[in-house]
């Protein structure tokens, strides 16, 4: 067999029921047909986790898969995917995490790590190259994210360069918005990987690796990368990210009137001027930070000194965190937004879903659907930062109203008797872009296999440059974006690399890393194959067109004010066009011909 250069062709499979850890070869076909990351994870889940599996049972798996360039010089090739059956959607989900955790797994000698079964007692996994141990974690159960990461590193001797991914109390408590958090601040955020890990009684995974990564053409690759560094340094979008992180988008999205405000009832926030990128940099940012092999450093470390909460110190906030915990809850003070993000980060909850869930409860409270009796005395109105923080803590601990909210915003809204106030698709809330102001995002949210996730096809940029309100003529662009994102996620790139590294660059880096030859057409076929395999898994789970839905608010309630005023969405029209473009039938199922053409 050919040597695939940077790729290790090995996966570590750990069964928590039996306590066995084995190393398996990964067939070369996985790399040529799925690359790795989201694509390879999808293939393994499809083959190993039956569609009738209860996501929180021991039959579910957590399939961590690096991209083929993990650990190499390819800029931003640090994203590792975890693929699992989601407790929030009951379908397939891949969640991606940046930072250094994925590369560390690679340096330990593995492209992938599969966790299966369920431990009787809380445990954590300790991987040092080929030495793998399952260790007692009873003393960490109940501990928050920083306590767990620091405690484990201390127990293992105090090496700060050990990379730990863990769950917090939210994951232990099977909260469907629980994330897995790596290195304290980097998350496998959505939708519910932390709950799956909690259901397995696995508290953490700690890794230290010292092995080589050997790109097929290391010297040529280094020269190629050196040219890319120059392009990054001169790229305006990369520079905006460098200075302001993803928050650079606030001004544009708010001015166009589609920034999630008060549970998506409005598209502009009156206090947005104080929340722009430059304001964030001036008021709260204290450090710039980067993931492995990334020359942009869009990561921001922020801090506020609060009279109520003391020193609040977080990484971020990201634009989506800011949008959902801030304006979508009617809040515009950094103090509360940072504290809310810190609560989510400490307990291990996804900030987007957390903000969307609380904003739904806030609207229910304002409309009298729930009362102070239900909230345990909390005045849960839009704009009440203290209330937001109090409710988030209850969600993490599953106390009082928090126990209902922890089941996800769809279930919670149904229990409150107001299902129409839950902004979601497949049980998962959208990010901070109101699709009424950029209608391709309606198709993105509705057809995303893992619930309303913006990164399945972020079409905002292309739409703003054209007619963002058009409902026809966009299917080809949306399909192309979905394919490109499937490629980025399967290759293990950060999506921010796309500003500089287009498909041609990605293909070249793939070839230099692995030594494999591939045409641009083959490359696109991989992306399309991944999309269709995900789709088919969900079809096998019983999902059809009716699940590609959006809340009534987006479809029927016209945006009240601002530059997106009067807009609603004709989703049926857009879905018909999109399904046809994808080669799916009227019910959203991939046709036999389409699957056959992709070798599925």
């Amino acid at each position: 067999m050919a040597n695939l250069g940077a790729v290790n062709e090995k996966l570590l499979r750990v069964n928590l029921t039996t306590g066995n850890a084995i190393v398996e070869d990964i067939p070369q076909e996985i790399y040529t047909k799925y690359f790795g990351g989201r694509g390879a994870g999808t293939r393994y889940l499809f083959d190993e986790v039956p569609t009738d599996t209860d996501p929180l049972s021991e039959n579910n798996k957590l399939i961590f898969f690096n991209g083929p360039m993990a650990g190499t010089m390819a800029p931003g090739s640090n994203k590792i995917a975890v693929t699992f059956k989601s407790p929030a959607t009951n379908g397939i989900a891949s969640s991606l995490c940046g930072g250094h955790f994925g590369p560390e797994l690679k340096f330990a000698g593995y492209d992938a790590l599969i966790i299966e079964g369920k431990s009787e007692k809380p445990v954590y996994l300790w991987i040092q190259n080929d030495e793998v141990q399952i260790k007692d974690a009873s003393s960490y159960w109940g501990k928050n994210i920083p306590e767990t990461g620091e405690g484990i590193k201390k127990e293992l001797g105090g090496d700060e360069n050990i990379h730990v991914a863990c769950i917090g109390p939210a994951g232990e408590n099977l909260n469907v918005i629980a994330c897995i958090t790596a290195e304290r601040h980097r998350e496998f955020g959505r939708p519910g990987a932390g709950a799956v890990m909690g259901s397995k009684n696995l508290k953490a995974i700690a890794i230290k690796g010292t092995q080589d990564v050997k790109p097929a053409k290391a010297g040529k690759m280094a020269n190629y990368v050196k040219e890319l560094y120059k392009e990054f340094a001169n790229n305006p979008k990369a520079n905006a990210r460098r200075n302001y992180g993803t928050v650079e988008m606030v001004d544009g999205i708010n001015k166009l009137g589609f920034w999630s405000t008060r549970n998506f009832s409005q598209g502009q926030f009156e206090g947005a001027d104080k929340l722009t990128g430059p304001m964030m940099r001036q008021e709260i940012v204290v450090e710039d930070t980067s993931c492995y092999a990334c020359p942009i450093a869009c990561g921001k470390v922020s801090c506020v000194e609060s009279e109520k909460y003391g020193t609040v110190h977080i990484e971020g906030p990201e634009f989506e965190t800011l949008g959902l915990l801030g304006p979508n809850c009617g809040i515009g003070d950094w103090e509360y937004i940072l504290k809310a993000a810190e609560v989510c980060d400490y307990y291990g909850m996804d900030t987007i879903s957390a903000g969307a869930t609380v904003s739904m409860a806030m609207e229910c409270y304002e409309k009298g659907i729930i009362t102070k009796e239900d909230t345990g005395g909390i005045e849960l109105k839009f704009g009440n930062g203290e209330a937001l923080i109090a409710v988030l803590e209850k969600m993490a601990k599953r106390e009082g109203i928090g126990d209902i909210l922890a089941q996800g915003l769809k279930v919670a809204a149904e229990k409150f008797g107001a299902p129409e106030l839950a902004m979601h698709s497949k049980g998962v809330s959208p990010a901070t872009y109101d699709p009424r102001g950029s209608k391709g995002m309606a198709v993105t949210y509705a057809t995303s296999p893992k619930g309303a996730h913006h990164m399945i096809s972020p079409t905002m940029g292309a739409e703003i440059a054209g007619d963002r309100f058009a409902e026809t003529g966009k299917a080809a662009m949306i399909k192309d974006t979905q394919i490109q994102m499937a490629l980025v996620d399967s290759l293990g790139y950060c999506s921010s690399m796309r500003f500089v590294m287009q498909v041609d660059h990605q293909l070249e880096l793939f070839k230099l890393s692995t030594g494999l030859e591939m045409t641009k057409e083959d490359f696109y076929t991989v992306g399309e194959r991944v999309l269709n395999l995900e789709r088919q898994y969900n079809v096998n789970c019983g999902m059809t067109r009716k699940d590609d839905s959006l809340p009534k608010r987006f479809l029927k309630e016209a945006m009240e004010d601002g530059p997106s005023k009067g807009q609603t969405i004709n989703l049926d029209l857009m879905l018909d066009e999109f399904y046809a473009e994808m080669g799916w039938d009227k019910d959203g199922k991939p046709t036999e011909e389409k699957l056959a053409s992709l070798g599925l």
């Binding site: 990564v213 450090e287 980067s290 020359p295």
Partner: protein, 160 residues
Amino acid sequence: MSRKVLTVEKSKCIGCRICEQWCSLTHHGVINPAKARVKVTRIEESGVDVPVICTQCSKAACIAACPEGALSKNSKTGAIKVDKEKCTACRKCVTACPNAAISVHPEDEYVLICDLCNGKPKCVENCPEKALQYLPIETSERIYRSKVVRDTAKGGKRCG
């Protein structure tokens, strides 16, 4: 001409570890942080990234600590030379180094110390933030002083 030394301005480091990649590639032809002679450690609590480098001390503690006579200085660059044959990986130099810049090769039995890439350090060349620089020793402190002066004028950094 005076000799040059490697300098680090930790407040500029973003923790991308591109320096580690170029270092291990240049010396070993592979990417492996464990084989890099420059190492970045992130303190997760504060989010601060700290690159650890050899600073080419003139009275090198590593040379003094070596019982085998395996370490010496390159007379031109001032970099430490490791005699792989003599080195026993006893690690006395590792603990003698005030910077903690020395590590043991993960597969072979000898220590890894920065050799300044024969006067053209690749880590410096590729650092996207210019956190690492290669400067004449007599002016090597000026960037650090400028930063302290700037911070003092601003009244120091927020949140400690």
